[in-house]
C-alpha cells in the first residue's frame, strides 16, 4: 500500500486554513468594564441575620432594549464576573429560575438592576443581590418533578440527536469518535457565525449551519479516517487520532471564538409559557418539537428507505453487506454526513437553549457515550432510546443530588449497563470481549 503523507499534510493544511481564517467571531472591544456580582441568601433567625453565598445563579446582562450581552453563573463563593464594553447602558438581571427551589429575591423586583454608563466610575462595578425564602415560590413536589421531567425530555432529545451519528459511525466503521463533541460545537459556532457575525436571519443561518456541519462530518471521513482505514491503521490508533482531532479543533474554536459563551442573537430572552404544572419557553417548545420530528424522520428513513436499510445492513455486518452489493464506502460517507448534520442541529438547539461556546459539545460527549452504551453501541435506535433516557435521568436526578453532580448518575448507569447487559438495550447479542 502506497503512503501519501504529502497529501495528508496538504489536506490538513487546507482544513486548517479554512477553519483558521474564516471570519472571526471575536469582537475586540477597546475598553472593557467588569461587573462583579455577589449573590447571597439571607436567613433571619431572631435578631441575627446570616448570609450564605448562592452558587449556580445565572446573571444576565442585557442592553436597555433587552438584547443579551453576556451572562455568567455564580461560583461556589456566590460571585460572578462579567465583562462588558465600556460606554453603554446595561441592565443586570438575576435569573430567578436558576435559584434553588423555594428561593426568590428577598425584596420583590430587586432581581433587576439598571446600570447606566455613568455608574462606572471605575472599570469595576460591584453589585449585590439578596435572595431568601418565599412562601409563594414553594412549588409542590408534583410540579417540581413535572418540570424536571420536561427539562429532561429537552436534554434527552438533544443528546439523542447528537449521538445517532456517533453510534452509526461506530457501527459502520468501528471507530469510537472522540471528536464527535467537536462536531456538535461546530454546529453551534457556525450558526453563531452566520446568525450573529454575518447577521443572517436565523431561518437562513440554521439550515446553512446544518449543511456545513454535515460537510464537516464528511470532511472528517474524507480527510482523515477513510485514509487511515485504507492504510490499514488499527481502530485503537484511529481512536487516538480522533482524540488529537478533538484537542486540535477545540483549541481552534477557542482561538477563533474566545473562551466566553455567547447567545445566538435570535430568541435569546423569552418569557416562559405556563402549561399546567410546567414552565417552558416557546423557543424550547419549538426546538423540542422539531427535534422530535427530525428523530422520527431519521428512524423512518432507517426503517423504510432502501438507503436506510443499507445503512443498517452495513452497521450490522460490513463484510456481509459488501458481499450483497452494497457500496459500503458510499454508506460510510453518508453516515458521516448525516451524523455531522444531526450533531450540528443538536449543537444549534443546545446553543439556543443555553449558549454557544467552544466547549459546548465536548461537555456533552460523556452523556452521548452513556446514551449509546445504554442503547447499544452501533445501533441507531439504541442511540435514540439511550440518549433520551440519559437526558431525562440527568435532569430528574437533580431532585435528589446537587445539580453540580447531575452528570454522576449517567456514569452509574454506564457502569451498571456494562456489568449487567454490555450490549445495551437494543444491541446485538454477541461476544463483546
Amino acid at each position: 500500500m502506497k503512503l501519501h503523507p504529502g497529501r495528508l499534510f496538504a489536506t490538513a493544511a487546507a482544513a486548517l486554513a479554512i477553519l483558521g481564517f474564516a471570519p472571526s467571531g471575536i469582537v475586540h472591544a477597546d475598553a472593557e468594564n467588569e461587573i462583579v456580582v455577589r449573590v447571597q441568601d439571607q436567613t433571619s433567625t431572631g435578631a441575627t441575620t446570616s448570609k450564605l453565598p448562592v452558587a449556580g445563579a445565572v446573571i444576565i446582562v442585557t442592553t436597555t432594549d433587552g438584547a443579551e450581552v453576556t451572562r455568567a453563573t455564580t461560583s461556589a463563593e456566590g460571585l460572578a464576573s462579567l465583562r462588558v464594553a465600556a460606554g453603554a447602558d446595561y441592565v443586570v438581571t438575576l435569573d430567578l429560575a436558576s435559584l434553588p427551589d423555594g428561593s426568590t429575591m428577598i425584596r420583590e423586583g430587586t432581581e433587576r438592576i439598571e446600570l447606566p454608563a455613568s455608574s462606572f466610575r471605575t472599570p469595576v462595578k460591584a453589585l449585590n443581590f439578596f435572595t431568601g425564602q418565599s412562601a409563594d415560590a414553594a412549588r409542590s413536589d408534583f410540579e417540581r418533578i413535572a418540570q424536571r421531567f420536561i427539562d429532561g425530555v429537552r436534554l434527552g432529545l438533544i443528546i439523542a440527536m447528537c449521538s445517532v451519528g456517533l453510534s452509526l459511525i461506530f457501527g459502520t466503521t468501528g471507530l469510537t469518535n472522540f471528536a464527535h463533541g467537536e462536531l456538535v460545537s461546530f454546529g453551534g459556532l457556525v450558526a453563531f457565525l452566520f446568525n450573529v457575525t454575518m447577521g443572517l436571519p436565523f431561518f437562513v443561518a440554521f439550515p446553512l449551519a446544518v449543511i456545513v456541519g454535515g460537510a464537516m462530518g464528511w470532511l472528517f471521513n474524507w480527510a482523515i479516517f477513510a485514509r487511515l482505514t485504507k492504510r490499514g491503521i488499527g481502530l485503537v490508533s484511529q481512536l487516538v487520532v480522533s482524540v488529537g482531532l478533538s484537542i486540535m479543533l477545540r483549541n481552534i474554536y477557542l482561538f477563533q471564538f474566545g473562551g466566553r459563551t455567547r447567545p445566538l442573537r435570535s430568541f435569546s430572552l423569552q418569557e416562559g409559557l405556563v402549561l399546567g404544572p410546567v414552565r417552558i419557553t416557546p423557543r424550547d417548545l419549538t426546538t423540542s418539537a422539531l427535534s422530535l420530528v427530525i428523530l422520527v424522520a431519521v428512524a423512518v428513513f432507517l426503517q423504510r428507505s432502501r438507503t436506510g436499510k443499507a445503512v443498517r445492513a452495513v452497521s450490522d455486518n460490513v463484510a456481509l453487506a459488501s458481499s450483497t452489493g452494497i457500496d459500503t464506502g458510499r454508506i460510510i460517507r453518508l453516515v458521516w454526513f448525516v451524523g455531522g448534520a444531526l450533531a450540528a442541529t443538536g449543537g444549534i438547539f443546545r446553543g439556543l437553549d443555553e449558549q454557544v461556546g467552544f466547549q459546548m459539545g465536548s461537555s456533552l460527549l460523556f452523556l452521548m457515550f452513556a446514551g449509546i452504551t445504554l442503547g447499544g453501541l452501533g445501533s441507531a435506535y439504541g442511540a435514540l432510546v439511550g440518549g433520551f433516557v440519559v437526558g431525562i435521568l440527568v435532569e430528574m436526578s437533580t431532585l435528589v443530588v446537587p445539580s453540580e453532580l447531575k452528570n454522576a448518575p449517567a456514569l452509574i448507569i454506564l457502569i451498571i449497563v456494562l456489568i449487567v447487559r454490555p450490549q445495551g438495550i437494543l444491541g446485538r447479542r454477541q461476544r463483546v470481549g
Partner: protein
C-alpha cells in the same frame, strides 16, 4: 526577540518538574496502554488520587503527612476496581469511555460544594506539605546550579525527588516487563484469546496492569501537588491525560525510554512554542498586511492546537514515536 531567554527556558523545561511528573504518569500509561493495550483515558483521576491522598491527611483526617501514601494507594485501588470490573472483560474502547467519564466525575465530586468538607471544593487544599518541606536539605531562599539550570532550593529538592522517583519507576517497569508477568501482559496486547487458551486469567492480569499504572500515576499526582504546594481540582481535567498520552506517543509506546524522553521533548517543544509566540505578541497583536494573525490571549489556544495536531501526525505518520517499535503499535480494538 529575546532568543537567549527562550532557549534557556526551553532547556530548563527539558528537566523541569512538568517533564518529571509527566514522565511518571507516562510510565504508568505505558504499562497500561503501551504494554497491555488498555486505553486508560483517566490517568488524571489516578493522579488526583495521589494528590488528594496527600492533601486529605492534613485537611480532613489530621494525621501525619506520610499516611498520604496509604490513602493514595487505597484510592487508586478503589478507582481501578470501579473502572476495571465493568470494562476489562469487554472490547478496548469501553475502558476508554468509562475511564474518561470516571475521571470527569472524580473532578466534579472533588470540586463540589457538597463535598467541600472532604476535598476543599473549588479552592482545593493548601498547607499539607510541611513534612516534605522540612526534609528539604537546601536553603529555601538560595539558588543553586548554573544558568540555565538554576533553581531555588525548594524547586531543586522537588526536582531531585521527582527524578529519583522517575528513575526508580523506570527501573521497576523495565524489570517488570522482562519478568514472566511482563511477557504475559504483552501477549495479552497481541492476542488476548491466545493467552486465555494457555490458561492465563487475562482479566486479573489486566486489572493488575491497570492498578500498577495507576500507582505510578498516583506518584505523579503527588509530585505535582508537592511542587505547587496546593491541590486544585481543575488541574486534573480530562485533557491532562491526553497531553500525557501525546508525550508518551512522542517518546515511543512500549519503551521505558519513550516514557521519559517523550515528556521531556513534549515540554521542551511546548515551552519553546509558548515563549516564542508570547515574545511575538508581547508588544501587541501580530499583524500581517493589516490582518491580525494572533494576539497574546490566543497563545494558549495555539499551543494546545499544536499538541492536538502533533498527536494526529504522530499517530498517522510515525506511531512508534522516537524510540518505539512499529510492530508494537499495531493495536486493533476488534
Amino acid at each position: 526577540m529575546d532568543f537567549l531567554s527562550i532557549i534557556e527556558n526551553t532547556l530548563r523545561a527539558l528537566v523541569g518538574i512538568d517533564a518529571a511528573y509527566f514522565a511518571l504518569a507516562a510510565l504508568g500509561l505505558n504499562v497500561q496502554f503501551g504494554y497491555t493495550g488498555l486505553l486508560n483515558f483517566g490517568q488524571a483521576a489516578f493522579m488526583a488520587c495521589g494528590a488528594y491522598g496527600l492533601g486529605m491527611t492534613a485537611h480532613y483526617f489530621g494525621v501525619s503527612f506520610w499516611w498520604g501514601l496509604v490513602f493514595g494507594l487505597i484510592y487508586v485501588i478503589v478507582l481501578g476496581l470501579i473502572v476495571g470490573i465493568p470494562t476489562l472483560r469487554l472490547r478496548a474502547d469501553y475502558l476508554a469511555i468509562v475511564t474518561i467519564a470516571t475521571a470527569e466525575i472524580v473532578r466534579l465530586v472533588v470540586r463540589s460544594v457538597r463535598f467541600k468538607h472532604f476535598f476543599g471544593g473549588s479552592d482545593g487544599i493548601n498547607n499539607f506539605s510541611k513534612a516534605f518541606r522540612d526534609l528539604n536539605p537546601f536553603g529555601v531562599g538560595d539558588f543553586y546550579g548554573i544558568r540555565p539550570f538554576r533553581f531555588s532550593g525548594y524547586t531543586l529538592w522537588t526536582l531531585l525527588v521527582a527524578w529519583a522517583l522517575v528513575a526508580l519507576g523506570s527501573l521497576f517497569v523495565w524489570a517488570l516487563m522482562r519478568s514472566p508477568w511482563g511477557r504475559v501482559v504483552k501477549a495479552i496486547r497481541e492476542d488476548e484469546d491466545a493467552v486465555r487458551s494457555l490458561g492465563k486469567n487475562v482479566y486479573t492480569y489486566k486489572m493488575q496492569s491497570l492498578i500498577i499504572g495507576g500507582v505510578l500515576g498516583m506518584f505523579s499526582g503527588m509530585i505535582f501537588a508537592l511542587d505547587r504546594g496546593s491541590i486544585q481540582p481543575d488541574n486534573y481535567s480530562r485533557d491532562v491525560t491526553f497531553y500525557i498520552l501525546t508525550a508518551l506517543v512522542l517518546g515511543g509506546v512500549a519503551k521505558v525510554m519513550g516514557s521519559i524522553v517523550g515528556p521531556m521533548m513534549f515540554w521542551g517543544l511546548f515551552v519553546f512554542s509558548d515563549n516564542f509566540l508570547r515574545d511575538l505578541t508581547d508588544s501587541g497583536p501580530l499583524r500581517i498586511g493589516g490582518v491580525t494573525i494572533i494576539q497574546s490571549t490566543q497563545v494558549g489556544a495555539v499551543n494546545y492546537m499544536l499538541v492536538g495536531l502533533g498527536l494526529i501526525l504522530l499517530m498517522t505518520l510515525r506511531p512508534q514515536g522516537i524510540f518505539g517499535n512499529r510492530k508494537e503499535m499495531a493495536l486493533d480494538g476488534r
